[in-house]
Structure formats: structure tokens, C-alpha cells
């Protein structure tokens, strides 16, 4: 499997998954079903996470085909601009979905404002994701072109979206033009790291039996803090990737790091979507968490430190992934 294969595999999940999420969310609004609403929010959050490797693998896919006959650089650029804009909306939709899930945990349902925001943003996201899919398909499928120049045959909606799409090369240039801007982003990335590991690590340690005087319910209040750190790091991480795409794309440590982050998503699902969280949630001072909670806490600690390790070794392992 190469990066082009990975890109083709992942992109269908992110696009179709987001459409399914929107479908569930719409049905939940019509039927006023809070469980279905939560399911929609969970799918949006999961798709926001999965869209990251989808986006990142695009550069490798480009590298694999751009020298082939009949491949147009202009079409790739159009797809890339569309992808940057769609990813922006996808990540905001995912972040707001997590806010909604937190609200439904605290107040048994997401706030009305959150539902409206997620609805509007996910509608935009689905539209933009569809455009990413279409412009991506255009690159290697001339049989679906309406004429020899698909860019000139964009519909009205496509042209409107295109007006908001950044030129990918410009963004790349912008990220690396000033070393202080880069240092600022990296400092934020480290601050985000501290927020995540400080908050999640403390909760994990408590579940493993450290500082048992602390009630687990009160430690769980740290989770939004960790999510804020994660939002900072997704933002700065994606911007860094756009700034130096070739540096990260052909790096095995980078890809294993992204894989470890996806595993952390699964670990979080194992915590919240099974009975584990319900059992642990109300544990007071001195109480011992059950074995499944301890396994999840230990996995979380190991995986977060693995993410730090792999991030630190990105520079060491550059040019370890083949472009073919």
C-alpha cells in the first residue's frame, strides 16, 4: 500500500460518513430523539478525526501521480484548495459536536444554540466535502468531465465555493515565510501538548489508583481542558503540515503518530460508549476503578506518550516513506 492508495481508501469514509452523520442528525431533529442526536454528533466528531489522515495523505497521492501523462496540475490545485476549505469546516463541525456531547453529558441534551450551529456547519461541510470528492475524482477520471476543461464547467455553487478556497501554494508560503510565526505555532503546539497530557494524564492516573483522595467525577471536569488543548494542536498541526507538506508526508514517524491519535479516538470510544464511563463517573474519594477502566486509562497514558515520542522523532525519520 502506498500513500495514493491510503488517500483513495480514506476519502470515501470521510465523505460518506459525514453524509450519514448529517442524515442521523436531521432525523433526530425531526423525531426529537436525543440518542440519535448524540449518534450524529459522535459521527461528526469521528469524521473530523478521520478527515485528518485523509487530508494528509493527499500530498503523497499527488506526488505519486503528478508526473503521469494527462494529469493536470491545475486540477490538483483546485482539489487541494477545496480540501483545505472543507477540512476547516469539518474540524469546526467536529469541535462543536464535542461541545454538544459535553453539554448532553452535563445537562442531558445539547444546548439549542449548539444544535443550530452544528446543523448549519454540517450542511456546509457536507456540501464542501462533496465538492472535494468531485474535484478529486476529476483528477483521474476524464470520463466524468462535461468538457475538456472541468474547471471552466463548474456550476454556480462550485464557482461560489471556489471563490472562498485558498490557493494551496500561498498558504504553504505564508506558514514558512516568517520563522517567528513558525516558532509561535510550535510553542502553541507544545502548550496544547501540556494541556492534553496534564488533564488526561491526571484523570488516567487517578483511575489507575494515584491520588485516590480525589473523586473521579471531579477529575472528569478536566476533559474539556484536554479537548481545548487537542483543538489547539489539530489547528497548529494542520497548519504546520500545510507549511511543510513534503517534510511530513514521507515520514514514518508522522504516520504512526497519526495512527496513534486515531487509536486514542477508539480508546475514548471504548471509555464513553461502553458501560465503563457510567460505572466510573460517580466514583467518590478512595474508590477503586474497575479493571476495564484501568486498562483504558493505561492505554491512554501509553498512547499519549507514544504520540509525543513519535512527534519528537519526525525530524529523525524524514524521508523514510517511499513516494511510489
Amino acid at each position: 500500500m502506498n500513500l495514493a492508495h491510503l488517500h483513495l481508501l480514506l476519502n470515501h469514509f470521510s465523505i460518506i460518513g459525514t453524509i450519514i452523520g448529517l442524515g442521523l442528525f436531521l432525523v433526530s431533529l425531526v423525531g426529537e430523539n436525543d440518542d440519535l442526536k448524540r449518534a450524529g454528533l459522535i459521527i461528526f466528531a469521528a469524521m473530523a478525526l478521520l478527515s485528518l489522515p485523509t487530508f494528509f495523505s493527499g500530498v503523497g497521492a499527488q506526488g505519486a501521480i503528478q508526473e503521469l501523462p494527462g494529469v493536470s496540475e491545475a486540477l490538483i490545485d483546485r482539489h487541494e484548495g477545496a480540501a483545505i476549505l472543507a477540512l476547516f469546516f469539518m474540524e469546526i463541525t467536529g469541535a462543536l459536536s464535542l461541545v454538544g456531547l459535553w453539554q448532553s453529558h452535563k445537562f442531558s441534551r445539547p444546548a439549542r444554540g449548539n444544535v443550530v450551529a452544528v446543523l448549519l456547519l454540517s450542511l456546509f461541510t457536507v456540501g464542501l466535502m462533496a465538492r472535494v470528492g468531485t474535484t478529486g475524482g476529476d483528477i483521474r477520471h476524464p470520463e466524468v468531465w462535461a468538457s475538456s476543461d472541468p474547471a471552466a464547467n463548474e456550476g454556480t455553487l462550485g464557482s461560489i465555493a471556489h471563490a472562498f478556497e485558498p490557493a494551496p501554494d500561498k498558504v504553504t508560503e505564508l506558514m514558512t515565510a516568517n520563522k517567528f510565526w513558525w516558532a509561535f505555532m510550535m510553542a502553541l503546539h507544545f502548550i496544547g501538548l501540556v494541556m492534553i497530557v496534564g488533564a488526561v494524564g491526571a484523570l488516567d492516573l487517578r483511575m489507575l489508583g494515584f491520588a485516590k483522595e480525589l473523586p473521579i467525577a471531579s477529575m472528569h471536569r478536566l476533559v474539556p481542558w484536554a479537548l481545548a488543548g487537542f483543538a489547539i494542536n489539530v489547528t497548529t498541526g494542520v497548519l504546520a503540515f500545510i507549511g511543510m507538506p513534503n517534510f511530513y508526508t514521507y515520514d514514518i514517524a508522522f504516520w504512526i503518530k497519526i495512527f496513534a491519535i486515531l487509536l486514542l479516538g477508539l480508546n475514548a470510544a471504548a471509555f464513553y460508549l461502553t458501560d465503563t464511563f457510567n460505572v466510573v463517573e460517580h466514583m467518590g474519594p478512595g474508590e477503586d476503578a474497575p479493571p476495564p477502566a484501568k486498562i483504558i486509562a493505561a492505554s491512554s497514558l501509553v498512547l499519549w506518550f507514544a504520540v509525543i515520542t513519535l512527534g519528537r522523532y519526525i525530524q529523525f525519520y524524514q524521508s523514510t516513506v517511499s513516494g511510489r
Binding site: 520563522k179 517567528f180 513558525w182 516558532a183 509561535f184 510550535m186 510553542a187 507544545f190 502548550i191 501538548l193 501540556v194 494541556m195 497530557v197 496534564g198 488533564a199 494524564g201 491526571a202 494515584f210 491520588a211 483522595e213 480525589l214 473523586p215 467525577a217 471531579s218 477529575m219 471536569r221 478536566l222 481542558w225 474519594p285 506518550f305 509525543i308 515520542t309 519528537r312 522523532y313 525530524q315 529523525f316
Partner: protein, 167 residues
Amino acid sequence: MALPLFLQSIENGRFSTWLRESDSPFAFYFVLLFHTFGLALLVGANSLVDLRLLGFFPCMPLAPLKRFFAIMWIGFWVNATTGVLLLIAYPTKALTNPVFYAKLTIIGSAIWILTKLQKEVFLDSLTEGDMIARGAMLAKWSLVLWVGAISAGRLLAYTYTYITFPS
């Protein structure tokens, strides 16, 4: 201005050369990795205590958080050790950069606040209200200083004049 020659003699040492030039993943990058682990432990745990003193997570009892000081000190000693190793690897790069001295000053202040928090705020004789009254200002400065220390550390990677002793 001529650079002091001791920088060159450190760099020419076998250990410094190995740290800097070895292709092994267990040389320079390994030290850098543990410097980041230490950062996560020290600042992660300290910022948690700071935020609690500043009124975040009010349902979390304050006094038991004193257990986290042990984690902070582990992080501190890991980073003091790895920091010295990084300095041995690139003495000229660090010592000719004013940001390096700023970073050490900031860390010194943050650690001074950390000891004050431990010795003057987290006392068994104090109520939660008293702890917050004594600790809130320290906590505020602690957070500011740690953000400064991380930023200065990141800047070090991009603002140096020399990477190694100029020949």
C-alpha cells in the same frame, strides 16, 4: 567578539560529538524526547494545580492535589538532567543565544514559585479558602512563566547565531 574556547573543547569531546553526530535514535533525539516528557510532567501537573487555585474545576478538592508535586519534581529532575545533556551537545548554540539565558531565568522563577506553592500554600493546617487566598497570585505567575519558558524553549530552535563553534 571572540567566543570563549571552552565551548570548542566541550564540543570536541567524545560524548558531545557522539550526542550531536550519532545516527542512533538513542543519541540526541532520545535526550530531546525525555526533555519533552519532563516538560509534560512538570508543566502538566503544575498547571493543573495553578488552574485549580485560580478557580477552575471548583468541584475538585484542592488539598489532595499536593500528591502531584512529586510528579512535578520528577519532571524537573528529568529536565535538569536532559537539559545539561542538550547543553553538552550544543554548547555554542545555546550559550551564544540571549534567549537561552532568558529561558533559564524564567524557569528559575517558575521553580521558585513551585517551591513556594508546595511549602506555603499546600499545608495541612490551611482551609481551602486560605490556600486559594495565599496561592492565587502565585498560580497566575506560575502559568505566565511556564508559557514563557515553553515559548523561549521553542524560540531557541529558530533564533541561534551559531550551531557549532565557528571554525
